[in-house]
Assembly symmetry: C2
Homo-oligomer: 242 residues x 2
DNA sequence: CGGACTGTTGATTCGAATCAAAACCGGTGG
DNA sequence: CCACCGGTTTTGATTCGAATCAACAGTCCG
């Protein structure tokens, strides 16, 4: 069932890139090795070398680092269609962990194949390069989020970002999206303690901005939440290059 | 005097990339428009579109974002030989500011030329791609720094990082390096207030770890400062891909 | 000389971490 | 079916790191 894998990848790629029919055919021709994997499993660890990239077909994946004191910081949340370790194509050693948050279906692409297809099709090379640049843009925004925003706006910003990105690949239903993460996870994303995450979420619920039940997040007042989080979507670079 | 410009670029590129003689010739053949510019001047602003990239020949450049409340967060510090807006080649709109910290000599490369050279020489495309990936790796470490480290280790980490990067391009003299930034700047890099930056620097001086006079930083006890900052240089990806 | 940054100091406030304990939940197995 | 368990969420009390506020000293420069 490589079909679903390819579809997820193409859906995500065409959100931010203009691909012609030959590009699409080349993507469809890629060999992708499918693998289902459980929640909380390490895909690639900090310090490892790898000869393949991992595309997410279903589920959520974290990139994270853990400090010597055992404090974890999540660096990015990845959603279906993304290739969270695309950088391994040109950086030989992993400088962080890649770990599933939920049970996932992954598709593995060998570096050899990726190098072939990017050499043969400059437009695809540009598209994949661009994907890594968008990752970097999101990292930049996270630096601002963690460095300069207080807990409540920080959380608001994260939730809006996730909603926007999931919306772009059609994984939302009128403000609702499934995101099976714990409050511990959210704390690790935002550089906050679990206790404080809990209080921030309570505040946002009390204000009627969001509703959460189980792992379903529901954004009730988009406008107000975006203002609260000082959200400007420019950094997501959704939509193809002009 | 395009010679100095090209030298700076090549010095930096060969720190992290293996270039063959044809690659080097191609770089040397690039048209670079030189421009001297004062301190605290905006090179490209958030929201702008640009059709060229900016290479630093001399001086320091910040990438930064400013929140609605006027709080600035510095995203990265760039040193001679780097191309801090290389991402503009594939991201049409700037999502942050690029601003000089000191008087600088810059070299501008048109996107058209960059696209030509990367299309013709896949190895150079990979090298430039890799540069942007190393930028992203540094962003990731900054997320950890700002999100999970307290003020003193955070500062220690930044100083060690800068020393290592400057050392790689031969801009240090036994632990000393010139870095003409104010304490306000350091605060904006680290997500700390100016007052607290001052106290942290005093602590590091009192402990005999660093000495600062004017804009000259001197790292007196490397080992101890690295331990204090929990520094692991892997993320800098110095040295070419294995 | 005067003015504008820059660096320094002390007092106070505040946001978030930490500590500690309870309530809740979903699954497991008897 | 229910008791039990581990992980998660919630609550309250307390501590702590860093921001803020407010001066003041030092330095550079026109």
């Amino acid at each position: 069932m490589t079909l679903n894998l390819t579809t997820a990848l193409l859906t995500r790629l065409t959100v931010s890139n203009r691909l012609d029919s030959d590009d699409i055919r080349a993507i469809q021709g890629l060999r992708i090795q499918e693998k289902a994997i459980g929640a909380r499993e390490i895909i690639v660890a900090d310090g490892e070398r790898t000869d393949r990239c991992c595309m997410i077909s279903e589920g959520f994946v974290f990139r994270s680092k853990t400090t010597e004191e055992g404090q974890r910081q999540v660096l990015s949340i990845h959603i279906p269609g993304e290739v969270p370790d695309l950088q391994s194509l040109h950086l030989d050693v992993m400088d962080h962990d890649l770990i599933t948050v939920t049970p996932c279906v992954l598709g593995f692409l060998t570096h050899a194949d990726m190098k072939d297809v990017t050499r043969d099709r400059p437009n695809l090379a540009a598209a994949f390069w661009r994907e890594t640049l968008i990752d970097a843009a999101i990292f930049r925004e996270w630096i601002v989020n963690v460095g300069r925003r207080e807990a409540i706006p920080r959380m608001a910003h994260l939730l809006i970002e996730l909603h926007k990105r999931l919306e772009a690949i059609g994984h939302t239903r009128k403000g609702e999206f499934g995101l099976p993460v714990t409050q511990v996870d959210l704390g690790d994303c935002l550089g906050l303690s679990t206790v404080h995450v809990n209080r921030v979420l309570q505040f946002l619920r009390k204000e009627g901005l969001i509703a959460v039940r189980r792992s379903e997040f529901h954004i009730l007042q988009h406008q107000r939440l975006e203002e609260l989080g000082q959200f400007d979507p420019a950094y997501l670079h959704l939509g193809p290059n002009a």
